[in-house]
Every structure is written in C-alpha cells, then in structure tokens.
Subunit: 325 residues, 2 copies
DNA sequence: CTGTTAGCGCCTTCAA
DNA sequence: TTGAAGGCGCTAACAG
C-alpha cells in the first residue's frame, strides 16, 4: 500500500504539498497539483483514515446505542439517523446492547477513546446519571426524556401518551382498564404507569394489580397476555399497550380464544409500526423516523459547536382511531 | 485528556511499561503494574483508539452494506451479524445505500482507507465484478449468490425458491400464475424470473407479460399490485411474491376489492418476516438471522486468516403452508 | 523486567 | 508557493 510519502517521492515534491492537494488547500501550483493527482490515481492511493483521525482528533463516526436492532421501533429511528448522517458525511456505528449495562458502557468508552465523535442513545439501561459522566468526552443525545441538563434529547413524554389513551378509553365508557409495558422500572414505563394510575384515580376506580402486564416486547408477549387474560375471573374491557407489536399479538390471539375485538376487548397500541396499519389497530403514535433525524441533528449541532446549550425537543404523538376501539 | 506519556511520567516509568500493562503483556513488576493501574484509574485514562488502530493496522470494525435498514429482511440480517460481532469484539459500521452505487463504493473505500477490517454486502447494486476490485484491500462477504471466486458468501438460490413455489402452485392446479419481484434486473430477480418461466414452460403455458410485477418492495407496492390486477381482463389465480411485505399488502387489499384469498387469488410469499406469521401467509423462507450470523463468521475467518480460500454457503428455504394457499 | 528508539501515516505551523 | 520539522498517541523490536 502506497502512502503519502511514496506519492511525494514519485511526484518529486514534499509530503506537505501532497497533503495540500489531498485536502484541497490553496497555494499549490496547478501543474504540480495535476501531476500529483494523476500519480494518486495511478497508484490507486487513498489516505489512511486512522492516521487522519489521529491527527485531527475526530473520526466522523457516531455511535447509535439501542437494545434491539431487529425491532421496528428502533430500525425506524436508525433510518432517520442514517438519512441525516449521510447528508452530513457521518458514519454510524451500530451498537446493540440487548439492555446489557456493560455493553452500553463499552460504547461510551468508545467515545472516550476517540473512536466516536458523539453518541445517540435510543434507550438506556444505565440511566442518565451514568451517561452524564461521559459527556466530557463528547456529546451525547438521547431519544428518551432525561432530566440531565448536559444532554440534549428528542423525546416523547409517555405520561402524556398514556394519559391520552386513558382519556379516550374512559370517554368511551371503559372502567375496567389494563395496560402492557416493557421493562418494569424504566423511566418510560414508570411514567406510563403513573398516567394510568392518575387517570383511574380521577374516576375513582381502584387499579387492579393483575391488569398491569410488564416485560412485553414482542408479538409473542401479546399472545401471552391473552393467555393470562383467559385465566382471570374478572377481565378488563380495554388494554392500553405500549407497543403495536404486543398489540398485534393480542389482536391475533384474542379471537382464537373467543375474545372478540373490540367487542370484548378494546385495544390501543402505541408507536408507528406498520403492523398497526395492516391490522387496523388504533394507535397513539409519532414518527419514529423523525426521532432519529432530530437526534442526529441535535448531535451534529453539538459536534460542530453550532450550539453549546443542550436542547430538549418534545414530540407529540396523536391517536389514530382504527378498528380495535 | 491524559495520554500514555502522562501516565508514564506520573508513575515514574517509561511509556513502554505503561503500554505493557495496557496490553496485558507479561514481564512487568507486579508492584509497578498496580501503581500504573491505579494512576490510570485516577486519571480516568483510556487509550486513543485511533493511535492504536494506526499502529496496529486494524480497527476491529466491519462495514455492513444494505439498501434499507428499516426493512425487516435486512434488520434480521443485522441482528445476526450483531450477535456474532459482539461475541468476537467487533463493531459494526452500518451503511444504508438506498441502492445508490456511489454510496456503496464509499463503503468499499473505507475498507481501502483502513477504516474497516472487512465488509459484508447484504445486497449489491454495483455487482460483484465491481466489488471484486476491492478484495485486495480486505475481505468482502456477500449475502447474495456471486460467481466471484474472491468473495465468500452466504446465499439463497432464488431460482430454487421460486421453483419450489411454482411446483407447489402447479401441483395445486394453478395455470394462470403471476409473480412479484423487486429490482427488475438484479441477479436474484432474474433468477426468480427464470424459474418462473421454466416452470411455466414445463407445463406448456405461455407466460403473460402483465402478470410479472417488478419494483415491489413495500406493503404499498402490494396494494398497487391489487389495483393492477383489478384492471385486467384476465387475472392470474395465483401470485408468487418475493417478499412477505408485498404479500401482506396484497392480502390486506384484495378482500376489500372483492378478491377473496385464497379463493380468487392464491398467494405465496417469501422470507421470514413475522408479518407472514401474523397474517397467516404461506411463505417460502430461510432464517435471515442465520444469513447474517453466517456472513459474519465467514468474514471473521477471513480477517483472522483462519481460512484463505473463499467459501460459499447455501441456505435452503422451505415452504410453510398457511392460509393464503 | 525495563527503557530507548523507531516508526504507523498524516497534518500543520513556521520559515523560506 | 514550497519544504522541513514537530507532533498526534501508541506499539514493538532491541538492547540492556
């Protein structure tokens, strides 16, 4: 592999001059520039990124941290990030954590080690207090609501999401309402639960422990919920579900067990996965692609120092009524 | 930011010694090792990856090239790659090309520029002859069938896939058969078409041009297919569809237009997207996660020189009968 | 067991 | 408009 020195030798100039044409600097004799370019061409030379990164102190690579790549909520976010990143000539290091705290830290360490110019955290397991320790190594943007004043974020207030859903259900006469969320104690789950509890309390209804389902992530989890429902003496008439894939599982499994939807069971899902459209599931959604695009923009502004202060961008989901309500 | 020199100074040793403890080399006084470690801890130091990459000549990063991230066929492949990569301490650079030839070349250039240790191409737009030019810069593995003897691949022979589907349809009495594929002239599409034509010719049926749909990628394309079908004087009784998302669009749209499935129209999809399971679509599938995992393994073996010769791994999909046939 | 030294490939003053 | 020289931060012989 040729290097800059070799090119310089062949062109009979110094490596500085070669460097100048490589980086489109002015003050290079047009004749020499042409000559150098042709040699570069002939030798099929290109810069060694690692050397460039080392000397420049940046890589034009950002890290994207998420629990599961093969999950449409996240792949939509990646889509948004990808589009914007391509526009600004940034590359994406994709890091699937499976919600392992260590894996998340590993990525943050890559920031510290200058392998990454910045990081977007789609969903954290360590929590923002931990993330905060790394902002001194480079900008971090989250796609979740964080209280931290050191990190920008694009987020949805899931208290509002669930509040919106509960309002709809209550307005439509439901009193026996249940819900499904993912990780039991994540910020988002806790917010959702609070909205649920507050709404019930506003109509003087006591929440029923067994109607709150946790650890729901996939279609299979949805069918599991239906199984549980069938065992109950008293069943909810409606379910507010934090993700459409779970909702899809419920919607497919319920009729097979004799529960008609929305007759016996009303379902409201969340997010903008296409499955909701296909199965005609009522959903409360925002654009996940926009989340990703927004996160990249915030991050990019920080990297390029366009803005120093952190920024919080809230996205407001809205309810689309379809056939499960 | 502290560097190795600073650590050496503070510990009163040379940078070599620090480097040794950093890389777990033997022959370091246990006392000094402890001391150095504690200073590293105190200063919250860590190596500069770019310097390490430069001097080692590798980055432990591989590139993954695909047209669309937000498409379940590809996100499943990424899942497979991610899992294996994590196991071997490799990172993934994700590159969405949108089938732009230039974007694909950009990634290959990153291989040339030592930013990447290897590349996995999930679907190429430039074609294998072009890719081949880059193997001298590092190993390239594809998830498509390539004739190249310079690149390993994990692939499905889509001639066989469609042949399998046609056989099923013909056995079940269909004679008026159509098909849907993605890019009109991609290798895979051409292979599929050939299988289709060969099957028809084997039963002495003349193919009908308008029953071959191209540029089908999404659910919406599926509904578009149904629109076209409705305009036809003579309609096919069955459709072999290269991707379940298109099939999903057809399955949802058809009944709304009075075409019952499988009564008026039999549908066979392809690949293992969950949507097929949910909508009970008969499909011809292999595990896409396995494709990714296999591709990484091949690539890793090349990077670590475990095997020099290229290897071709063929995966055989099988037909799962459900409710659309 | 430890330090010196020579790179890895490139960018960027500085002086000419 | 050009070149020399000094890093960027680290690894790896080599010599002690």
């Amino acid at each position: 592999m040729p290097n800059i020195k070799k090119i310089a030798e062949m062109a009979g100039v110094s490596i500085s001059t070669v460097s100048r044409v490589l980086n489109n600097h002015p003050y290079v004799n047009e004749q020499k520039r042409k000559e150098i370019l042709s040699i570069i061409e002939k030798l099929n030379y290109s810069q060694n990124s690692n050397a460039v990164h080392l000397v420049r102190g940046k890589t034009n690579v950002i890290g994207v941290v998420l629990p599961f790549v093969n999950h449409q909520y996240y792949s939509a976010i990646i889509e948004g990030i990808s589009r914007m990143a391509a526009k600004h000539h940034y590359n994406i290091m994709l890091c699937q954590t499976g919600y392992s705290p260590e894996k998340e830290i590993e990525v943050l360490d890559m920031l510290k080690m200058k392998k990454l110019d910045g990081v977007i955290i789609c969903s954290t397991i360590n929590g923002w207090q931990e993330l905060e320790k790394y902002v001194k190594f480079g900008p971090i943007v989250t796609c979740e609501d964080t209280v931290s004043s050191y990190m920008s974020s694009v987020y949805i207030d899931h208290y509002k999401t669930f509040a919106l859903g509960m309002e709809y259900l209550i307005e439509h006469g439901h009193r026996r309402i249940g819900y499904c969320v993912g990780r039991k104690n994540s910020i988002n789950s806790l917010n959702r639960k609070q909205a649920y509890l507050d709404a019930l309390s506003s109509i003087q209804v006591m929440p029923k422990e067994e109607w709150g389902f946790v650890d729901c992530f996939t279609v299979e989890d949805g069918t599991r919920v239906v199984q549980s429902l069938l065992q109950m003496k008293e069943r909810p008439t409606a379910l507010l579900v934090s993700c459409n894939h779970i909702a899809a599982g419920i919607v497919k499994a319920a009729p097979k067990s004799g529960l008609s939807i929305p007759g016996d069971l009303t379902i409201i899902g969340c997010d903008d996965q296409q499955i909701a459209e296909i199965l005609e599931i009522t959903t409360i959604a925002h654009s996940s692609v926009d989340v990703g695009a927004g996160a990249f923009t915030l991050l990019h502004d920080h990297i390029t120092k366009k803005n120093k202060e952190t920024k919080k961008i809230e996205l407001f989901p809205k309810l689309t009524k379809r056939l499960t309500t």
